[in-house]
């Protein structure tokens, strides 16, 4: 015990630091997107392999359009007016919106797509 106390005291700041990088549990309701959860999902779904996305780690892809200022864009994928509902629809089913385009249907839930759309809405 005598040895453990100072070790714990030294470890505590490390624990605090590591704790900071955990995403907070965000209890967003249905229909409301949570941008923080959306950002985590963008990493998980490897969106950055094809798109440059500000604020998303390693998101330097040059396959699809870069998403800088996507919140200010007028039209999504050349066909849909840029609204939260349409962005959610596009993310859930890009193959239905533009059949044969390179972006796959990733099997996102409605809430997951809303969260990602909410993150994209922060990119002004």
């Amino acid at each position: 015990m005598r040895l453990r106390r100072p070790l714990l005291a030294l470890g505590a700041p490390v624990v605090v630091l590591l704790g900071c990088v955990q995403p907070p549990e965000a209890p967003a309701g249905p229909g409301v997107g949570d941008p923080e959860r959306g950002a985590v999902l963008m990493v998980r779904e490897a969106c950055g392999a094809c798109h440059e996305i500000p604020g998303i780690q390693e998101a330097e892809g040059q396959v699809g359009p870069p998403l800088h200022g996507v919140a200010r864009r007028t039209i999504i994928a050349g066909v849909l007016p840029n609204t939260p509902d349409n962005m959610t629809r596009w993310l859930r089913d890009p193959q239905a919106v533009v059949p044969g385009n390179a972006m796959p249907n990733a099997g996102l839930s409605e809430q997951q797509a809303r969260d990602m759309a909410a993150y994209l809405a922060t990119l002004r």
Binding site: V14, P23, A46, C50, Q57, G61, V63, P104
Partner: protein, 194 residues
């Protein structure tokens, strides 16, 4: 007479204390498990940057020593696609083709490879496929694929930026038809009644 330690000793002590602190912090992390080893959250940005950068530079360094490959043929691309379809697509997807659903539970997340040929040279791709990537879930394919087969996969990846989702779907149909025909032929040849 007051005793002043010489400046070099002060410097040495400061360095020693610094190094000891880093060592103790590292030891605490290792011995008490103060590090998130779960795959349910992405890497912290610094870890993501450091690990990915190390990997990129290690691949560049290793692949620079390899001789350049010979010209890729259409047959090689076709064979590479068949191998990709069987072994790679579940984790890496394709144009208009999603990854398997469970892949989004992986940390780090396996990338789509539509832009891989623009990011890596053929030698680098060969190195990555053949030797895998530690701590990512990417296997070393030298355990199950010949060197020639790995080159076929590279040939396919080099051709991939030129494929639309429709091209890719056609290639897949053609490859699966060819595989079915080959299986049928093999079966009828081994069947003594025919």
């Amino acid at each position: 007479m007051p005793h002043h330690p010489p400046p070099w000793l002060k410097l040495a002590l400061a360095w020693g204390a610094g190094i000891a602190t880093v060592g103790i912090v590292a030891l605490v992390i290792v011995c008490f498990g103060y590090f998130d080893t779960t795959a349910s959250t992405p890497h912290p940005p610094l870890v993501a940057w450091a690990t990915h950068m190390t990997m990129k530079n290690a691949v560049r360094r290793a692949a620079a020593k390899m001789p350049p490959p010979s010209q890729f043929t259409a047959a090689s691309v076709q064979r590479g696609f068949a191998i990709y379809d069987t072994n790679c697509e579940a984790c890496h997807g394709g144009p208009g083709v999603p990854r398997a659903a469970w892949v989004s539970g992986m940390t780090p997340s396996p990338p789509f490879l539509l832009g891989a040929a623009r990011q890596w040279t053929p030698n680098q791709l060969f190195w990555i496929v053949r030797h895998g990537v530690r701590m990512t879930g990417m296997p070393a394919w030298d355990q199950t694929l010949s060197q020639a087969d790995v080159w076929h996969v590279v040939a396919f990846l080099e051709a991939l930026p030129g494929y639309s989702a429709a091209d890719y779907a056609r290639l897949r149909d053609r490859t699966q038809l060819a595989a079915r025909d080959a299986a049928r032929r093999a079966k009828s040849e081994s069947d003594p009644d025919r």
